[in-house]
Symmetry: C2
Subunit: 510 residues, 2 copies
């Protein structure tokens, strides 16, 4: 596994070559002010040189004032070197990428970064199958001042202080809580509580053993995909859809077919024709305040969807993470409620609106699927941590919970309206959703959402470009997802103005 | 997906047939006193009848005093009906299974339960691949008074009260803790802490980005298996080995080859010959207080193993969950410490000895593997819950931690000695380990460990039979794993006496 061929490095002493290699990357902006450089170990491995060589090179750069060392955590880029870069570093360094070159398999890094220096032979990864990077998660990791790419609730809207006090009571109730594992299926007391909740709320008659607790909806989707999908299996997804689910099903080797999600749901005849042609194993849907559009699948189509699943023998995975985020009236019954044959696997996420750090979701499904799902869950992590389940349960059943949810709905609808007021100044189009966390906005035809992202990141504004939400091909490249839940109304106004500025600058260059 | 053919049910009114079906199962002991019966929904689905039919049948059984309803959580078996069963239900109901019929793919339920009533056509699961039930987890779910099957620390030995107090301080420090997601890789502050710990303890020079936090070692193994193993890939495992890892690698479709783990490690020439013949993609090892034998791979063989991995281009997954459980001197440096080429993926579990409920483990690996591992982790759950990571970190760096570990080592060695005193009364054989949580005991040749389990479960004693730990074929069927960490010294004495009684009764029937 050694790799000592670095042709471009053969003229000078090795440590000088490494120094030059680092200087090029810093000057080019791969590493900007206060960025951490690779560890000595890492870089030595990447370049196939001795660690002492890298160490010597870092010492030289420290001596020259190009980088600085911070106690034990590594080496960082000195800010002064960055002042030479006039433009925002991200803007400056983004490679020229057009929507046309987007093929659905490139990572955000590939989209946004310059190509790697020719001549450097990195060790090839030896993974079992080509991995598709979780693009959304990479995008969200970019720090920006105006964060419209995260469909997460602003921590300022959460009952943090109250919850912190609450936790202490939970520990008084369960003094051995941290010494105990949860069962694989999840804490029984929590599952009893949720069974009662589902009965009261939706008239779902469940036993605690019909419920699996997972570490967030993400894990639920992943477990279901691992359970049901083998490479080459066909899955139908809405278009657009949740980026994280696309990543999971692709990783599992699914063959993805899509059906457009319209303001009143899909064309059911078109859907049936797709089903007949492709014989899917599963359909993945977010029918209530659909991610990313916010649309709602009407009750009649929910019922019909279940009939289709029964008739054509496929399963429905209903991902219901935003059910409780309605602004006006309650949404229709979940698709799961129409199911009498056990064709629906229902994912309901709860902690997102209370304490996202807890990562609590529930899966409801028929017993014969539950049995195998439990096996996978036991292999995957042996059961979610008990602590979070107990904390969640006690808050979930408190009267305070209801009040919190009502306040949260009002706060979110105000933010949505603030964002819509800004959008009203543009010629962009959107269908106002009646709940959820996002607006799905169509830019005028021909405008590249990826190019707009590049420009808006430079102005410290982030959003999700349409292609991230495309399950199978390049559609909606002129659409963008704007989440209004993570930023204050004032931030929304400021950030939207910047986004509009970025758009104007883009239009003027076209 | 409907299934209405129940030939044996065609003579009587449907609800009476369902009632009979239930009575047979209760009388046979499938359901014993206070056992919960299937939900109306579940049973209706299984039998392909209307829910109201099942409901009527349950009402009839309640009326006849055979079962009782408990508020909203379902129907339960009335104790009186069980008094007709003289023997312990588990003993009574265990099917006759010999080791010979054990083929490595049957679940504990299949091993221990009577065959399902002929004539009932359950719906077939529609999973993507045949799932192997996590046998160990099923066995451990059996409630017994003397629990020697769990390699978990007795909660009574954990600093629960102190931790509970500690948690409150953690919340004072991070008031928005529950409103925040961890990064995918794990809390940065915790990774900085661990990097410093590894440097101080083992002279591993790491950056925080070389460390991934997972929800327990189980998740770490699962992620690594998903990353590295595609169906048909060869993996070498020790024989015997950790049952949970066998399940994961089998589920991933690995072709497993084994090498015997001896008190002084493997025969390195035999290993090299296996490697040459089978060209493995990975070797999975628990070299320090090996699970289940407690043996330690000597330093010289650790070094040689890394050389072999480099020479023959395979990766080593080093699962180091019991490193800190030494009774005398510290064990040799982890294999990871000998690796300069990035061939070792190192899993270190921490929370097990402090607060198992937190589920904290760390993976160390080379940057090019870390990148893909992070992608998988982001797909799998988006990052482990932050709360547990912060609680763990603060305790881990406290002075109290060191004292706790020292006390724990003493307590465990006393329990080990208590168990060994009991074993000394038998003609069973074992090599006293110098650390870990288990004894690996050879019964006299020809004695079936599965048959012994069946008899000992009837006496409320549980342990792990040898075949559970067999990665590839039937070996060690006369060996058993006895964990001494979960029960008090007194319980060990009582439970071991019962185990010996079960053994005596088995010997007398042979």
């Amino acid at each position: 596994m050694k790799n000592k061929h670095h042709d471009f490095l053969t003229k000078q002493p090795l440590s000088q070559q490494v120094t030059d290699f680092l200087l090029i990357r810093i000057d080019r902006g791969d590493y900007t002010a206060h960025d951490k450089l690779p560890s000595v170990r890492t870089l030595a491995q990447q370049l196939g040189v001795h660690r002492l060589t890298v160490f010597k090179s870092y010492q030289q750069l420290v001596h020259n004032g190009k980088i600085y060392a911070k106690d034990r955590s590594g080496y960082y880029v000195m800010p002064c070197i960055q002042e030479e870069l006039k433009d925002s570093n991200l803007l400056h360094n983004l490679a020229s990428v057009s929507d046309k070159s987007y093929d659905g398999t490139r990572s955000i890094q590939q989209l946004l970064s310059p190509p790697i220096l020719a001549g450097i032979n990195f060790k090839p990864p030896v993974v079992s199958s080509p991995l598709r990077t979780n693009m959304l998660s990479e995008l969200q990791a970019h720090h920006v001042d105006y964060q419209f790419s995260k469909a997460l609730i602003d921590p300022a809207l959460l009952p943090n202080a109250y919850m912190s006090e609450y936790v202490k009571k939970v520990f008084d109730l369960y003094p051995k809580l941290l010494g105990t594992y949860s069962t694989v299926q999840g804490d029984e007391e929590l599952r009893v509580t949720l069974a009662e909740y589902f009965k009261k709320r939706h008239q779902f008659f469940l036993l605690p053993e019909d419920i699996l607790i997972t570490s967030g909806a993400q894990q639920a989707i992943d477990l279901i995909a691992r359970l049901m999908i083998k490479p080459g299996d066909t899955i139908i997804m809405e278009r657009p859809t949740y980026s994280g689910a696309i990543d999971i099903f692709r990783q599992q080797g699914a063959h993805i077919i899509s059906i457009p999600m319209l303001p009143d749901g899909y064309d059911m005849d078109e859907l049936e024709s797709i089903i007949r042609n492709y014989k899917p194993r599963m359909m993945y849907v977010t029918p209530t305040f659909h991610n990313p559009t916010g649309y709602v699948l009407p009750a009649s189509k929910r019922k019909r969807l279940v009939e289709l699943a029964e008739e054509y023998h496929f399963l429905i995975t209903e991902d219901d993470t935003t059910y409780d985020m309605y602004f006006e009236e309650e949404p229709p019954l979940p698709i799961y409620g129409y199911d009498t044959e056990g064709v629906v696997m229902y994912i309901r996420s709860f902690s997102k609106y209370i304490a996202p750090g807890l990562r609590i979701a529930a899966v409801l499904c028929s017993p014969w699927l539950m049995k195998d799902l439990l096996t996978l869950k036991s292999l995957a992590d042996g059961g979610s941590p008990l602590l979070g389940q107990k904390i969640f349960m006690h808050y979930f059943t408190s009267s305070r919970m209801q009040t919190h949810m009502e306040k949260l709905r009002i706060a979110l609808s105000l933010r949505k309206e603030a964002m819509e007021r800004c959008l009203a100044k543009t010629n962009w189009e959107w269908t106002p959703p009646k709940g959820g966390l996002d607006l799905w906005v169509q830019l005028p035809e021909g405008v590249s959402s990826v190019e707009l992202l590049r420009r808006s990141l430079a102005l410290s504004v982030s959003f999700v470009p349409g292609p991230f939400c495309e399950p199978d091909a390049v559609h909606h490249s002129s659409s963008i997802r704007l989440s209004y839940c993570y930023t204050s109304e004032r931030q929304i106004e400021e950030g939207m103005q910047r986004l509009i500025d970025a758009y104007d600058s883009l239009i003027h260059t076209i």
